[in-house]
Symmetry: C3
Subunit: 359 residues, 3 copies
Amino acid sequence: MNKTLVAAALLGACAGVAQAQSNVQIYGTIDAGVIKRTDQSLNIGKRAANTLGFKGSEELGNGLKAIFQLEMRYEPDTGTQELGSSTVNGVTTSVQRPLFQGQSRVGLQGDFGMIRIGRGLSPFQESVAYFDPWHGLPTPAGFWTDLSVAGFTTDPLGSPGTSGNRMSNAVFYNSPSYNGFQFNSAVGTKEASSGNAIIGRGTAALPQYPANAQPSTNPFSLSGTYNNGPMAAMLAYERNAVESKVWSLGASVLVMPELKLMGTYTSQDREHTFVSNSDVKAWVLGANYTMGPGKLLVGYGRKTPDGQPHTKQLSLGYEYSLSKRTYLYVDASRKEGAIGNATSTTTINHYDVGVNHSF
Amino acid sequence: MNKTLVAAALLGACAGVAQAQSNVQIYGTIDAGVIKRTDQSLNIGKRAANTLGFKGSEELGNGLKAIFQLEMRYEPDTGTQELGSSTVNGVTTSVQRPLFQGQSRVGLQGDFGMIRIGRGLSPFQESVAYFDPWHGLPTPAGFWTDLSVAGFTTDPLGSPGTSGNRMSNAVFYNSPSYNGFQFNSAVGTKEASSGNAIIGRGTAALPQYPANAQPSTNPFSLSGTYNNGPMAAMLAYERNAVESKVWSLGASVLVMPELKLMGTYTSQDREHTFVSNSDVKAWVLGANYTMGPGKLLVGYGRKTPDGQPHTKQLSLGYEYSLSKRTYLYVDASRKEGAIGNATSTTTINHYDVGVNHSF
Amino acid sequence: MNKTLVAAALLGACAGVAQAQSNVQIYGTIDAGVIKRTDQSLNIGKRAANTLGFKGSEELGNGLKAIFQLEMRYEPDTGTQELGSSTVNGVTTSVQRPLFQGQSRVGLQGDFGMIRIGRGLSPFQESVAYFDPWHGLPTPAGFWTDLSVAGFTTDPLGSPGTSGNRMSNAVFYNSPSYNGFQFNSAVGTKEASSGNAIIGRGTAALPQYPANAQPSTNPFSLSGTYNNGPMAAMLAYERNAVESKVWSLGASVLVMPELKLMGTYTSQDREHTFVSNSDVKAWVLGANYTMGPGKLLVGYGRKTPDGQPHTKQLSLGYEYSLSKRTYLYVDASRKEGAIGNATSTTTINHYDVGVNHSF
């Protein structure tokens, strides 16, 4: 093709178009199974997050690399983008999350570590995932999205339906690893994100954070991690946009090659938005036992919010690998506790069986 | 990169990320043309479904394979996700369909056949497509989305705008082929899908299925197909979430290598939601005649709902292949019948000319 | 796999699925940085459009090619599809643009030029981009989306949130290049697109274009471009769906290999929807100066709407290339003028620093 002016204009506006294909990797996970919960009819759903991602890196010389990652999330049972929920005036509706809910980040990596801009998991949430006996899966059979983080929400002012563990409008920095030690951090802006109102210390008529409020502080998240031989450990601290604070401690040890024991202790302080009973403490203990292609998962945890009934969860799971990329799973879990702000206690049993395929 | 703890956590949560690129295939269709309908101004639109898909398979040994397929649908004239329509209180609006409207399924394939979980075409709808003279295209010039299926809707309680021929929250099983015979089936759960209300045998104030109702039965779909040499045939049965039933018979024969004749007969029973006139019967006859790179399409069909005027459709089409992946097309079609629940008859002429490119 | 009937049906409906992977190129841009505007808190945002695209071409013989391009747009700071804004009754909300906001087109290319159907930039908007000192970036530091086009909107009746410079439902033709001359054109249909009402010469109760109005004329856009050696020039004319007209003249010259000077003059006539003061005139002068891996951008422009204060903009920018695909940037810009229909003047300073990576 002749390089005409319009083609040249496009070149200027979007340099990637006209050149040879760069090395974009497509990757993802599709996970679907059958789920039975105490209070629901049998349904088809997921155990892991479902992703379709695009990522790449470019060598810039002197050990410097440009990196990017764009990760869609979806629901395989209905084909939609990943769904979250939004509650306004007590009515909860299902809301589509962002197209690239998983992450959308660009940055540079080098001897100094890795700096990225965009949206992704907070360092606290990412570090805790390693010590969850369900290896960070969002399934109710696991502990990651509730007990492991003591019910903490990373993005309380995010747009309706947003997930609880990601930071938008943030800069992320990860240090290199020194003898197994690594430092991870992120700080967000005070941009408003069309979020729902949060009553907090206000009233329904005059909420502490009205709809589309800006953060009252720059949210940030820090974690230090250690991973060397059979031992791993983590210490993390995060403060979110409504000034709730959380700190967390985690450790794991391979007592033999087949057996990993792990635990977390997490403490949340919501004093800025709660008049009383602002603290939540939680701990989780778990084990993974590998038997050839099979892996047994066991976990038990408690979450204790001040002045409310505590939550107890016991879970058993089994994963059977058909290959490095594909496994079958089955879980049984019992969770007993107060739902939302209820003062009475409910027990929910959760069972699932399904397949997980990475590509 | 050092495998730091956070990287390891990500590994656990999403095994696909860190390994070598697996063999994801990108495929799709883009089809756009100029359309003139009797009652509309000239517009740009589609003849075929427009898709952008991602699929792959993994050998697990012993003939077993893990398979997945994620298929977006879109409108090339405006760049949006595929649009459907939603009617509430007599007002119809345009609504975006799910991102992966085409399908989102994961499963296993082996000597036993193929089992998949997720969302996709029902076996009935998929089998009928083969006997449509417009080879299953959704264009009004073809017969697939209305006359071939006797107006049957596979997902009547689906979320607003959902397509009429797909099952969400379903398990799909396809047998292997035995001497050309194959058995295909799917069964869905009774999950609610945020669907609009269906008055049915109720009233506007007290509809038989209120908004976001659960199915009153597990929807399922069955088809047996035969394909051997010049002959193909199909028998299918389906019952949807509001207990409408449909059965269908189809056959085709290559009377010479250039000429395929085909026909379907389909009968729908909507007794569960209709007080009277619950039956709809329809038949379609068609032919495809290949002349070098060209193919002539001819079809005629009738749909006869009890107590309502019948619908007649005559269509003529021509496809000219520029390659195996690209063809030009032109269609002329006349459809005469009652629109919706009208008791009077309307005639709509439809003309189109355009291009279809697969990639 | 045995080619069973259902597989064969899929083959007919979607020929691309079963064949070997064709050569789909994935490409895109991710651009994110830190932005400070006079009237906003510090935020994370973009300077360039963020894209994830899929494109391909197929040789058909005799120099003929089938081509397609599908281009997503997104916001890396929050992971959503690209956002636009929609104003109804004076209230402005953020609205997601189409999934393939960048473009969705299919067509043929050969000795005759290139003909495509779908949605994309209008030839006027595309040609002007080449003469913008910020090479067609949508950042407020550049001139392309406002001053370079004299505030002209290509799609005023488009669906809420739609971008101002794209045509939906259009046929695009680009001639081959003759000694550097090229002719580009597009014409749209009169389809309604669910747009918001435009009061125009009507009243709020009886707007000239009610919500979801059809165009009162076929929109079209023409440009002639010249690009040869150090000289480039452009003449363009466009009439949109509400009969506003615009013409534009642009020229650039490489006075030395490192220095490109450029300018545009653009005149808009909105007589069809304005009772008075219907004309807007604007000019922009700019320079790009290359210094090794760095490039300095300078621009100054004015927009003069009849009977309203004029807008003045002065911008300075610097881009530092880390590679052909990755650069860092910093901008400082001051814009003084009437916002919207205001009669008083506001000054907005805009600063940004960030990274742009193409893949």
